[in-house]
């Protein structure tokens, strides 16, 4: 089911200061997709989610879920959360400690006064789906973090909601479990064909899970796109920087070469993709991700985008080396395969493919 949000505003007052948690947000969340709200903490993503579910009342605007308007300031409509028919997984899971697994999951159905054997059937099915069959009588507090997370998911799914919402559901799990649960969640949600709205500040989670990502900052949605678009071809410097590690080089476009353009920056002339067709003479930003920077001992072949620099630092992090290379006054972050035969302070050449770096419009704000 599609969610349409129009002109949503929400202000907080803290110590006499007004904080705009949501600043005129317009957004359409397409049906049956996994849609992620990504942004740094305090960007308003959780507030937006809580407005959709009805736990918070916006100051202005309109929210429609499917054909039903659930909130409209102008028309004075506010549908309380229990009447919106949604499912939600909370950051803390919110598993009720005084109930066992069965009761936690059955709760939304008990609420709807469903016959007992039907409840039993549905709960059994959803517990099987989240691979918790046989846990019915386990006290909810006697579960591991991953199991609690799945109980919360089962509870959100059991009433077959139109939309399911996730508020940073993996942030309380340890790193290894988080990775496994992320994969599980992806396969659960793909199987279900359900509209899912997912809030996170973790870029890897967002990239791995989503069909669409909306990046937020300071109460506004900055950019929406699928993971590859956001990663390889973001419109904004902030997004490019937030979604992954990036070397951002400021310069001026000198000429265009078909899909590419040449930009003059501190370390020299660089050729990169120019999808946004920034005309020559204009300021621009070049983004190149560390994993695309290759090193070479010599200036072989005389290809494009080759520079000589000094390896300032080199840190071994297991799966790779992370290094910083100095070219003039500029420091570039690079990742090097862990078998490479280099040491810090080496002088070496780096190169990167013009197809693997891209130009962004220069922005006043960082």
């Amino acid at each position: 089911m599609e969610i349409r949000i129009n002109g949503l505003e929400r202000d907080y007052y803290s110590e006499g200061k007004r904080i705009r948690a949501l600043n005129h947000v317009n957004l359409t969340i397409p049906a049956n997709q996994i849609f992620t709200l990504l942004g740094p903490s305090g960007c308003g993503k959780t507030t937006l989610l809580r407005c959709i579910v009805g736990l918070e009342t916006p100051d202005a605007g309109e929210i429609a879920i499917g054909d039903e308007i659930v909130f409209s300031k102008a028309r004075n409509i506010f549908v309380p959360p229990e009447k919106r028919g949604l499912g939600m997984v909370f950051q803390t899971y919110a598993i009720w400690p005084h109930m066992n697994v069965f009761d936690n999951v059955a709760y939304p159905l008990q609420n709807r006064k469903m016959p007992r054997d039907k409840i039993r059937q549905k709960v059994a099915r959803v517990l099987r789906f989240v691979q918790l069959d046989g846990f019915d009588n386990r006290p909810a507090t006697k579960l591991s973090g991953g199991q609690q997370q799945r109980v919360a998911l089962a509870r959100a799914l059991v009433a077959e909601p139109k939309v399911i919402l996730f508020d940073e559901p993996l942030s309380n799990l340890d790193a290894k479990l988080r990775e496994e649960t992320r994969k599980e969640l992806r396969s659960f949600l793909t199987e279900l064909k359900i509209t899912a709205v997912y809030v996170t500040h973790d870029r890897i989670e967002a990239l791995a899970l989503s069909d669409q990502i909306a990046v937020m900052r300071a109460g506004q949605i900055i950019e929406i796109g699928d993971p590859k678009k956001i990663y390889f071809n973001s419109d904004h410097q902030f997004v490019a920087d937030f979604i992954g590690r990036a070397n951002l080089l400021k310069g001026k476009v000198t000429r265009r070469e078909g899909r590419h353009a040449v930009i003059d920056c501190a370390i020299g002339s660089i050729v990169g993709l120019n999808r946004r067709e920034i005309p020559p003479g204009q300021e621009a930003m070049l983004c190149v991700r560390p994993e695309f920077i290759k090193i070479a001992a010599t200036d072989a072949g005389g290809g494009r985008n080759i520079f000589r620099g000094k390896l300032e630092t080199l840190v071994f992090i297991g799966e790779a080396y992370e290094g910083e290379i100095r070219i003039g006054d500029t420091l570039l972050t690079i990742t090097i395969e862990p078998t490479a035969d280099i040491v810090a302070k080496d002088e070496l050449y780096i190169s990167f493919d013009p197809d693997h770096c891209f130009l962004l419009p220069a922005q006043a704000s960082a």
């Binding site: 579910v53 009805g54 736990l55 009342t57 506010f78 309380p80 959360p81 229990e82 009447k83 919106r84 028919g85 949604l86 499912g87 939600m88 909370f90 950051q91 803390t92 899971y93 919110a94 009720w96 400690p97 005084h98 109930m99 066992n100 069965f102 009761d103 709760y107 939304p108 609420n111 709807r112 009588n137 919360a152 509870r155 959100a156 009433a159």
Partner: protein
């Protein structure tokens, strides 16, 4: 969504009435001619109250009594808390017992048991010492300021301990460790590091004990009055209960200074406890505090702790039970044992006023605690879950009565009730009790509410449950432990209530503690002890019954859902 602001308003009106009304009436009353006549503004009562030649002595007594009790109770509490948290003293469970005895022995009975032990004419201990050492006169006289201070300090020791012990255990041990690394001895570390860091908790404990002893009525009436040592509380009592014409206006005028002192001290106390959060650092490293090996002094020190426990808990009950069985106060001997009988018990149970007071106290304990806890649930909910400005006002209002000396507030209520049909009914006592002891109900419930993460309620709403259904299925079941402990606390306090009742209780509305005070005034120690033991039995069975019901309720909830 629209209901919540009105709930807050209703609660502010109720709690505001309960706490502000007696104060307003006290102020109005202190400027009035006599009880029930509000017309005619006069300052005559103030003049009469504060030019009384005895007044200076009363103030001096009050100062010595309250400060003395505060110092003694705090020193004892520091000693016990240090022993428990920092040393390898054996039998640490005793310390937990110390912290819960205020629920077990009513103050008036504790005071009476000390009178029975140490009064100069026939105190059991005094007699024993005289026989043992062949003394001519009694070595101890409990009817004195030191006697009052001793008993009051022992009564307030649990409060002081409850403030100091958590601060002691939350103390970051690395502060002490670094002192020792610098070459300081255990004692020097204690004096130079531990105690200075704990200063806010120590001050807070001392101030709270001053406030409690200023409000205390049991010790000043049972121990002070026979020795003609009057403090503010007993002075007020004397004004309204003795002589031909009770002067409620003068009592109100005297009460104003006690109230002002109390409110000021509580204000300082709250400031200090807010500060202490910054001062005492809680170590997040999860280290167990280093335990100091007491070595040879382990058992001597334990004897001291054991003696305090014995004196606090066992001795009063034994003395009372023994006295209830003997015809008059006598030193235990074979002759005394042969004369023991249930006569006092039978007489008390046949005495119509004692029976009425038993009934009234039971009604007030059960009914009052139930009403009080229901009000507390709503107040705690608003205070914890809705952090609006109105909720802040409600919080301040509901903790205001914490600083009210019972007898003063009783006088204030008297001015109010005398103009209503509630005068001389149990309802008057019930309203007064709930108003005065509301913080004791709110405290456990608000900590229970704090533990209910807002997500637990919100997820219920998202699951399709209405606010009411959420309250029934999620909030109330999770609150049951808090409700039970709040109810127990209130019920036991109501059953033994003395200071407020002494003013508000009229013929027909006698309660247990007041009846015990009457027996004490008449020197009927045997009957007093019998009634006192009954009171202890009622309190203890309330505690036991409530915990059993609590256990059962949580079980039913589980069965119902399975």
């Amino acid at each position: 969504m629209m209901k919540k602001p009105t709930l807050t308003t209703i609660l502010i009106v109720i709690v505001g009435f309960l706490t502000v009304c007696p104060v307003v009436m006290l102020v109005v009353g202190s400027f009035s001619q006599g009880l029930g006549t509000f017309d005619g503004f006069t300052t005559e009562k103030y003049v009469a109250a504060y030019t009384d030649p005895e007044f200076a002595e009363i103030i001096a007594n009050t100062l010595i009594f309250t400060v003395g009790a505060a110092v003694l109770a705090t020193v004892l509490a520091l000693f016990l808390a240090y022993m428990n948290n920092r040393t390898n003293i054996p039998f640490k469970f005793l310390f937990r017992i110390i912290s819960i005895i205020p629920m077990m022995i009513p103050h008036i009975l504790f005071s009476v048991s000390w009178v029975l032990l140490l009064n100069p004419s026939n105190g059991i201990l005094n007699r024993m010492f005289m026989d043992l050492f062949g003394l001519r006169s009694a070595p101890f006289n409990i009817y004195s300021l030191p006697g009052m201070i001793l008993v009051e300090a022992l009564l307030d020791l649990p409060i002081a301990y409850l403030i100091i012990a958590p601060a002691m255990s939350a103390f970051d041990v690395s502060l002490e460790e670094s002192s020792k690394v610098c070459g300081a001895s255990n004692l020097r570390t204690l004096m130079r590091v531990t105690l200075p860091v704990l200063r806010p908790a120590i001050l807070a404990s001392a101030i709270l004990v001053v406030v409690r002893s200023l409000a205390s009525f049991a010790v000043p009436s049972v121990i002070g009055m026979p020795g003609r040592i009057y403090v503010l509380a007993t002075h007020i009592y004397q004004i309204i209960s003795t002589g031909f014409a009770a002067d409620y206006g003068k009592a109100a005028a005297v009460g104003m200074s006690a109230l002002a002192a109390s409110i000021t001290l509580i204000y300082i106390y709250r400031f200090l406890t807010a500060e202490s959060g910054k001062f005492v650092t809680i170590s997040s490293r999860g280290f167990k505090p280093a335990v100091i090996d007491l070595k040879g002094s382990k058992y001597p020190l334990f004897t001291v702790v054991g003696l305090i426990c014995f004196v606090l808990i066992v001795l009063p009950v034994i003395v009372l039970f023994y006295t209830s069985m003997t015809p008059y106060v006598m030193v235990p001997s074979t002759r005394a044992l042969s004369m023991m009988s249930w006569k006092n018990w039978v007489e008390v149970l046949q005495d119509p006023i004692s029976r009425l007071s038993l009934k009234n106290s039971l009604i007030l304990g059960l009914g009052g605690a139930t009403l009080g806890i229901m009000l507390s649930i709503f107040v705690a909910y608003v205070i914890v879950k809705m952090r609006t400005r109105a909720a802040g006002i409600l919080e301040s209002l509901s903790f205001l009565s914490f600083s009210f000396p019972g007898i003063v507030i009783g006088v204030g209520f008297m001015w109010f009730f005398v103009r209503t049909p509630l005068y001389a009914t149990l309802w008057a006592l019930l309203i007064g009790y709930v108003a005065t002891y509301l913080p004791y109900g709110i405290r456990p419930l608000s900590s229970a509410f704090v533990q209910i993460h807002s997500h637990l309620e919100e997820s219920s709403r998202v699951c399709g449950a209405s606010p009411f259904y959420t309250l029934r299925r999620i909030v109330i079941p999770l609150l049951i432990p808090g409700i039970i402990s709040g109810w127990i606390l209130m019920a036991t306090m109501f059953v033994r209530e003395l200071t407020l009742s002494v003013v508000l209780s009229r013929p027909g509305t006698e309660v247990l503690a007041v009846q015990i005070l009457r027996f004490a005034e008449d020197g009927l120690w045997g009957k007093l002890s019998a009634l006192g033991i009954m009171m202890i039995i009622i309190s203890s069975s309330l505690v036991i019954a409530a915990s059993l019901i609590g256990k059962k309720l949580t079980k039913i909830e589980v069965v119902d859902n399975a």
